[in-house]
């Protein structure tokens, strides 16, 4: 039988393969995407031609326009043990619930005395938390909490990394995790002297390598020009 000429009306198109593909991609992106909680401050970093990705395993100090310092660790278990150690050092008690909740928070910028209240505060209330004056780094009246956070947090992150490495070596598997790196994020308009203060905390702890977070700017270099 010969084909009948199609009737007028909507032309039919089989969309099943397209839908399959679309959902496959949606699933892929959903599974690979990592959601981050809102940062306590919005910092707009300057742009650079640097192409190095920010390592996943990092200790981050954010400096906002007013020179307030915010501290964060990407590894949540290192974050929890750092809080336990800091709690013992500064004699500020935390409940187990608070410690767990803290591990899920992004960076924070409060005095450790205000930290329990900050953790308990609602998410919307945290951005306008009144004690949010940055992690103290005063040296005149010795209250350099930032330095302790960096030392303790960094130490814990390195410990976790070593432990994971040993475990992988025992199991004979391939070890892929990267060493924790120290990162500094600052707004483009921040005065450099504020950033310098933060860098001093690191160099005092004999940490000399950083990743300065910048936004991507197009362009290559003399050696490797842009293609």
């Amino acid at each position: 039988m010969s084909k009948k000429p199609s009737k007028g009306g909507a032309p039919a198109l089989d969309m099943t393969p397209m839908v399959d593909l679309a959902f496959l991609l949606v699933t892929f992106f959903m599974l690979t995407a990592s959601f981050r909680m809102a940062e306590p401050v919005v910092v707009d970093p300057p742009s650079s031609i640097g192409k190095v990705d920010l390592p996943d395993n990092h200790i981050l100090v954010t400096v906002d326009q007013d020179g307030r310092a915010f501290f964060g660790i990407s590894n949540s278990s290192a974050k929890m043990s750092a809080l336990r150690l800091m709690s013992a050092k500064y004699k500020v008690p935390f409940t187990e619930e608070q410690i767990i909740k803290f591990s899920g928070l992004p960076s924070f910028g409060v005095d450790i005395k205000d930290l329990p209240a900050y953790i308990d505060a609602k998410e919307e209330a945290r951005t306008n938390f009144k004690g949010q004056r940055g992690v103290p780094l005063d040296t005149i009246i010795p209250n350099n909490q930032l330095k302790d956070w960096i030392a303790i947090g960094g130490g814990e992150a390195v410990k976790m990394y070593q432990a994971a490495k040993e475990k992988a070596a025992e199991a004979g598997g391939e070890f892929k995790a990267e060493k924790p790196r120290y990162a500094i994020k600052s707004a483009a308009t921040t005065k450099y002297i504020f950033v310098k203060d933060i860098i001093k905390q690191f160099t005092d702890l004999k940490i000399y390598q950083f990743n300065l977070i910048t936004s991507l700017e197009g362009g290559g270099t003399i050696i490797e020009p842009e293609k």
């Binding site: 839908v19 679309a22 995407a33 300057p46 190095v52 450099y192 000399y208 977070i213 003399i222």
Partner: protein, 212 residues
């Protein structure tokens, strides 16, 4: 458009039959939703990873060690309103037997004449020629990967090339510092360091910017 379920049309004749129920589903809304989600995830996933620039600060020298003087140095002085000054060689507060009093000159952050990029291109020419020659060799497969990287590193560490010192006053912004480092990276400069500004240098900058 997706297939739209069409109900039984008008049948010829008066015979009444049970309407054939179509099993086709209109997929348009589902497709819309799928692509909406897809777009959302694609956009958020791509832009969430921040880039960074690696920087190493020098360890402070042991107190008993005499600090080696930088012989071939260029100092950049950053100040407010994105202004940048420079001088070459040692700082001299006044004329002496080795040379005249240090004068600072101004540069800007543009890529044009009088800009930092043009200045560095000129100053760093020798080393760039060397590095570019290496790069050409590497591209022609005359060098292996590791050798090339090592040779580039050696070329950048050349004793004869300039060492760049970056100093800021209390008004310079973080962006200025990043921009200067960026330009140095662009021009394949191997040796640069962040240093504290000295009082006489600051006075010179103040003279130029006209503030106290």
């Amino acid at each position: 458009m997706a297939e739209i379920a069409e109900g039984g049309g008008g049948h010829k004749g008066g015979k009444k039959r049970a309407k054939k129920q179509s099993t086709r589903i209109d997929m348009t809304p589902m497709v819309d939703l799928a692509f909406l989600l897809l777009t959302f995830f694609v956009l958020t996933a791509t832009f969430s990873k921040p880039k960074s620039m690696e920087l190493t600060f020098p360890a402070p020298p042991p107190p008993d060690q005499k600090i080696e003087e930088v012989k071939k140095g260029i100092t950049f002085l950053l100040s407010k309103d994105d202004r940048i000054f420079y001088y070459e060689g040692q700082f001299r507060a006044a004329d002496d037997e080795k040379g005249t009093k240090t004068q600072i000159a101004e540069l800007n952050f543009s890529k044009d004449k009088g800009g930092l990029r043009k200045y560095l291109l000129e100053k760093n020419k020798d080393m760039q020629t060397k590095v570019l020659a290496l790069k050409a060799k590497f591209d022609n497969k005359q060098l292996v990967d590791t050798t090339y990287k090592r040779m580039v590193r050696d070329a950048k560490a050349d004793k004869e090339s300039f060492t760049y010192l970056i100093k800021t006053d209390d008004q310079a912004t973080y962006k200025n510092v990043i921009d200067v480092i960026d330009e140095l990276n662009y021009n394949a400069v191997g040796k640069y360091v962040m240093v504290d500004i000295l009082k006489p240098e600051m006075d010179l900058v103040k003279e130029k910017t006209g503030t106290n």
